[in-house]
Point group: C3
């Protein structure tokens, strides 16, 4: 069960090769702010984005997509309807799907809605520490939203949440943590510039769905996605003069990052 | 009727000069993924974008716009209402309009909706081979959606579709083809990076509307738009390290591409 | 009351430092075309964007946000409902808010809607000359929309509008003008490339909200926002090959522009 950093690096490199070989179809129901950046991140890493997010289409499409992302950043009414349709269809069809509960906590529409989606047992839930604690709610520790925004502080909640959903939970921060309730892997890559580009976190959710589409084990897929994504951020930061040029370099780097970069840069533990 | 590559090059160069001189107002009802890229492509090539896409405004605006794009990438309910309004108003007012039937085929909302718009006789229909075949449906050959995604394989359907609508049909692919039912022109420009940027095809639909706004003959306008757009892609690819830097370089190139570039690079037949 | 260019430069530099120190939370209900660019502009200048724009969330959030932008570029029905909610909540809670009446004039949905928002007395109204004249309508001079699109031609209307709302009015153009009904400051910075990137004006509205969030006097905040923004545009233009590379350089420049740049470049009068 427990694997060495070398094992994780190998499985990450293999997963990236499969994404590029298979070009998995990734359906995204995501927020209006980051939808363009997300599609470009998927295209560059080797996946095929499809932003099919209207009711009556979202459900059927989720049964043929390789992976699905549901991101709650700007959850308009018609999109929420499509999200429920897609999540239910994915759950039934066995399509791996990622829930990104953006800004869930006290906002009164998305918070109960996120709980409803959580109960459909997402393959992966991805968020910062506060969002993970909020999406867990009473069901996984009873702490609700609190001021903790430290990855390690959220890790207990994340483990319980993963045990409840039977899926994977990824907590973003300076060091990212991924857990399936038992195993925990930390990835110490990334760059602060990724937090200065809108969608820096949101597009990662889509990339997780791409990796989950081509990988048997969702935990391995999630670790691989975080590692590839954050190593690409470091490569891009070296070629950037600020967040605007970083955004373009990062999309470039998602396409060019390879096994040698991962071997040289990945800090997995 | 039949024109030489030299004639086509001349009319393309003249059309580009008119776009830059007249800055035609191009109304776009397009998908949320590419709307920013599309507006920037229009601005750079010299047109004036206006994304007026709410009901009660879309119709009146279509009567004063120089050209109109309707793109079905993310067809939410309110936008579909505005699209019908705009297409009807454009048809009545004589405003040239472009239909881009993104992902039409088996998706159950957009497919019948695309057929309804097709029956309003768009000035130009633009899509890849599968989309053109799907939008033609039974009305132009009875083949419906099939697995063909080869430009030449779709060309018969495209010619029939153009004859039915009385407009122009453009089929995207490694070599693009434009037909008005009789004439066929092939444009062998472009770069694979254009397929790695979301909106690479969608923004072309908007540029076609800009060229149609300032050109008497829609067939000539469509050939010119494809040629300028795909030559700009080749210029940009030379200055790019990947799809992120390509997207920025391509917007730059749409602004700088000129008669000499077209003469040196255009491969029209 | 009247201040020298040196005073204005000092207060601008101080306001920028406060934005970077405080990272004010700026809520944006803006159009789909520019929402990504706007969020990236806010992040780069040092603010924290939050595009909370669904009904039932927009109102409560406006009471905790540091500043609010309402931009009418693509005013879909559900977003209009959220805009009214947010503007009313901001007005009641004392959250400074900016109204950007994009393309208001003859369009039949947004024009009366803009008048309704105007009557809620925005802290700042920002637009080009035609938009300012249109939003003023009969209430501030009775001229309605006319063909004037010259900043100086709109200045009388802008002063009256500011007196009516008790707020600030900023008129965009080659030389920008800011007035609170009595004081008038002109800022002669910027670059034509800013007009070739979609959202070049819209994102300024969001930056105004960020500056207003950390500055006691909205007039000072607005002058500071325009100055920082347009000086950053000049810095970026020097490093750009066209509008695509300019967009990235401009986001970079919003993050790097500092006191020395402002002292060297700002043309305030």
């Amino acid at each position: 069960m427990s694997r060495t950093p070398e094992d994780l690096l190998t499985s990450t490199t293999e997963a990236l090769a499969r994404v590029r070989a298979d070009a998995p179809l990734v359906q995204c129901l995501t927020n209006s702010v980051v939808v363009n950046f997300t599609a470009n991140a998927l295209l560059s890493v080797g996946a095929a984005p499809a932003m099919v997010d209207v009711p009556e289409e979202a459900g059927p499409f989720a049964t043929v997509a390789g992976g699905l992302l549901i991101n709650l950043g700007t959850p308009a009414g018609e999109q929420r309807e499509a999200m429920l349709e897609a999540a239910s269809a994915a759950a039934e069809a066995g399509t791996p799907w990622v829930l990104d509960p953006v800004a869930v906590g006290s906002l009164p529409v998305r918070t109960p809605f996120a709980h409803r989606l959580r109960d459909l047992r997402p393959t992966v839930i991805r968020g910062n520490a506060s969002e993970i604690i909020a999406v867990a709610g009473a069901g996984a520790g009873g702490r609700g939203v609190d001021s903790t925004d430290d990855v390690d502080g959220a890790l207990d909640v994340a483990r319980k949440l993963a045990s409840t959903t039977g899926g994977v939970v990824a907590v973003s921060g300076p060091v990212d943590a991924v857990t399936d309730g038992e195993r925990v892997v930390r990835i110490a890559n990334g760059d602060v510039l990724l937090t200065k580009v809108t969608g820096g976190g949101c597009a990662l959710g889509a990339v997780m769905a791409a990796f989950a589409a081509v990988t048997e084990d969702p935990f391995t897929a999630t670790v691989a996605a975080v590692t590839v994504y954050t190593v690409a951020a470091e490569l891009a930061a070296e070629r950037s003069a600020g967040p605007g040029s970083f955004a373009a370099s990062f999309i470039d780097a998602l396409g060019s990052v390879g096994a040698a970069d991962l071997a040289a840069w990945a800090r997995l533990s």
